[in-house]
Amino acid sequence: MARNLAQEQRLTGLMRAAQAGDGTAYSELLRSLVPLLKDTVRQRFGFLQAQDLEDLAQEVLLSLHKARRTYDPARPFLPWLMAIARNRMADSARRYARRAAHEVACEQPPETFPAEDPNMPGSGYGDRGDAEALAHALTSLPRSQRRAIELTKLREMSLREAAAATGTSIGALKVSVHRGISALRKALRTSD
């Protein structure tokens, strides 16, 4: 109990200093919050993978940064933080449910092409060799393009979310995705 109170007071002091522009205090505050946020997210979304837990904790940190003006220094810090965390977790749950509603579990993927060859395991698309070629082509991309494709195409984040995660604008992200896809297409064509 006393330990919790001491922690609350420490975090409140750090947040007040951060509002005044103290970068050292802000850094210490954010680093102190990471394990706390991960625990909170894990309690609610225990089924998420480690990377997804980390992403959600990062989203809360970004929201804290944006909302820091709304913190009243006369009030305790943790209830304010947890309100932000709850909001972001609810948003994440909605996103997860939306995604799950559009996914269908099946043992055998349905055929996707009228011709037989591309659907046969071991040949055409879906071939392990293709997956390796794609993975290899991805690693050859510049970091910004690879990151843009990973977030928008592989992890299916929206442009807005991906832009927030990378700290770039939506326009710059679109350019990276476009260039990355062109480079991948070229690389895969060459490897054929």
């Binding site: 509002q19 970068g23 954010l30 980390e54 940190l61 944006k66 304010w80 972001r88 807005r160």
Partner: protein
């Protein structure tokens, strides 16, 4: 992005910020600005009023009091809704004065109908009022949006609907002083109707007008 890298970026982006004043203080500040604008636009009409006569009209005074209270309550609720962890019951704050406002206008309609029959409920367009209504609303609306954008609205639609209700209420207050003898049905249709339309627009455009907390981004 790794969390360490994100923290470094957030720290690099850190600027000193002044914490927002309490929602009630911000609402009063906004109300003072909005009333000043209203008084400026309808000052000529206000000069023509006979204060004792206006004060003696109980129904008019109740209606105006309810309109003012609705504006203030909606502004307080809007400013509270941009603070993380606010009490959701605060969103209902404008309902009692809004109910009183609607009841008062509704009673006026019933009285007009009892005295004048169907003629008492004749609705006509009053386009002359449109320009003053827009002029009255512009500065309070811009100020409201600017003040709301400083916060963190988890439900931007609800926040902007409340802000729009506050603006429409205060604009109606001014328009009522400019048209003291308007029939109740005109107030019900045009004034309360405009408030309802503006609030619905606010609910619809909330996430576009107010920066959404769902898309945090470094400057």
């Amino acid at each position: 992005m790794q969390t360490d890298e994100l923290i470094k970026r957030l720290v690099a982006d850190l600027q000193p910020v002044r914490p927002l004043r309490s929602p009630s203080a911000r609402a009063l500040l906004w109300l003072a600005l909005a009333l000043s604008c209203v008084a400026l636009v309808v000052r000529d009409k206000l000069m023509l009023l006979d204060p004792p006569q206006v004060a003696a009209d109980a129904r008019f005074m109740v209606e105006q009091g309810a309109t003012l209270a609705t504006g203030l309550a909606a502004a307080i609720a809007a400013f509270r809704s941009i603070i993380p962890g606010y009490d959701r019951r605060m969103l209902l704050l404008p309902l009692p004065p809004l109910g009183l406002w609607i009841a008062s206008v509704g009673r006026g309609c019933a009285q007009d109908w009892a005295q004048l029959g169907a003629d008492g409920l004749t609705l006509r367009p009053d386009w002359d009022c449109l320009l003053p209504a827009v002029l009255i609303s512009i500065v309070p609306a811009v100020a409201m949006v600017a003040m709301l954008r400083k916060g963190w609205p988890p439900q931007p639609g609800v926040t902007l609907a409340l802000g729009a209700l506050a603006v429409a209420s205060i604009a109606n207050l001014g328009m009522q002083f400019a048209h003291v003898h308007d029939a109740s049905i005109m107030v019900l249709a045009w004034h309360l109707g405009a408030a309802a339309v503006l609030s619905a627009l606010g609910a619809w455009l909330g996430s576009q007008v107010l920066s959404s907390p769902h898309s945090p981004r470094l400057r």
